[in-house]
Symmetry: C2
């Protein structure tokens, strides 16, 4: 395999050697933001959406971004060209930087890594088993690097047998640690939480695709509604759409991938294909 | 200046070159724990207390510690000898490690760094100005690397003019991001929060020193009680005890360092001195 490169603060570095100093605020204080998009046929998918969120996250955490959007796009396309990983994911992170007092935000470290990614062409109809967990993420709208609670919980004995956890707070079911959450009610209404969640890019496109076809409600969802749903699925950049068969000890619908979930997966696949140049006219 | 060394996974590395790979879970997911103790005359202060907490934190986050306590002490004394930084702080961190899927805990990275630290011999009587902030840290009893909310808040315009923030939740004033919090009431009762805080080592020793001398209450403290306190101070490994003069727009007591705060500082200083060999019989 030819060497693949990561990019740190303007320099290409063989990915195996991509390191940062231990005084960085991400290592010392968990302080950093990131984003992650997929690349299909060497073309980024929904890049502008991801860049919008990236700049927003950086602003929220007072981390300066040295590069204007056009410069950043130029950097991203440069990495794509250099690595030639036609089907891949690109992760770009901005940390609090090398802080002298291990506390004050300094000149950030900007790290971009690209890794091969195998995407499913067809929906995985084996539904996921998930378990609810009472927790509200801090700064939910900001894509921070904080996954403490998720990794701790999924490493504990009690959650080892499930595929994922589903957060809820006092008001609503919210999201999974790395995915948004949807239900389809018995009346064929598509529902997803509105507040205290990360605004997923895949979620956004699913909502846009669904709106002309069915009622879409964006607002609080109770656990009871989830248990009684006809279908449930999660969405994320890497997973696109994945059906859920079990939540806690309840079977969702008939325990199979539902027809609305299946249809939305197909629509989303088509929509993604039309973003990439080989499919545009 | 002679080269000082950091220690990573069993190797001494010149501190300037102490780096870890960007795939580490601390960098990608903010997943790690640490602890920090001070060294006086080349002797660690309260080392067993810090090691107790370190092993507890690691266990809570399911990060395996490769070294038994005696081995770890041996490593720590080895670093102290090599660096000869008689007045310093030592930070030891255990991360989630180089994770292939950027999510699952792997073989942890163990990083120890030592840096010169100037400790105050006398109490700094200029009280701190602090401001309350509604937030409950996640996993408060675990010394994780998560300082997202603190660094974000202190970087925002609204909190730029204060020395620190003071967290409160629906039940009580809790703590500062890097320090425990105490008040002395008008009746000369020493009070500090009990739940949802980090069990500070300095806090523990202050409580032990105070108990024979005055009533000590460990339990919920309302914001109103704080405003009406005769004295207030914070405690931490690096600060020992520092008086607080202002909280929000209120002056605490007469706005000076109070007599109980002053006395506890002196007692704590003596207590620390007696931990170091040159002062033991």
């Amino acid at each position: 395999m030819t060497t693949k490169y990561s990019w740190i603060n303007g320099e290409f570095i063989p990915s195996d050697e991509a390191k940062i100093h231990v005084s960085d605020l991400a290592i010392q204080r968990g302080y950093g933001i990131f984003d992650y998009f997929k690349i299909i046929e060497n073309q980024p998918v929904f890049l502008d959406d991801y860049l919008d969120r990236f700049y927003r996250s950086a602003k929220e955490l007072f981390i300066p971004v040295k590069y204007e959007r056009d410069e950043l796009k130029h950097i991203i396309y440069g990495i794509i060209e250099k690595n030639d990983l036609p089907y891949s994911g690109m992760r770009f992170e901005l940390t609090g930087g090398y802080s002298k007092d291990a506390y004050t935000i300094s000149e950030p470290n900007f790290i971009i890594i690209q890794q091969a990614l195998k995407l499913q062409d067809t929906i995985d109809k084996t539904g996921l088993k998930i378990k609810t967990f009472a927790h509200q993420r801090q700064l939910p709208q900001v894509k921070t690097i904080d996954y403490l609670m998720a990794i701790k919980t999924l490493s504990s004995g009690e959650y080892k047998d499930v595929d994922d956890i589903l957060y809820y707070n006092e008001h609503s079911i919210t999201e999974c640690p790395r995915a948004n959450f949807f239900i389809v009610t018995k009346d064929k209404v598509l529902k997803t939480a509105k507040d205290q969640i990360l605004s997923g890019i895949t979620r956004k496109h699913i909502i846009q695709l669904a709106k002309p076809l069915m009622p879409v409600e964006i607002g609080p969802i109770s656990i009871q509604e989830v248990y009684e749903a006809e279908e449930a699925f999660i969405s994320s950049t890497t997973k696109n759409i994945m059906p859920i068969s079990h939540i806690d000890d309840k079977v969702i619908g008939n325990g199979q991938c539902g027809s609305v979930t299946d249809m939305l997966f197909t629509l989303l696949q088509e929509h993604i294909k039309h973003q990439t140049p080989s499919h545009t006219e």
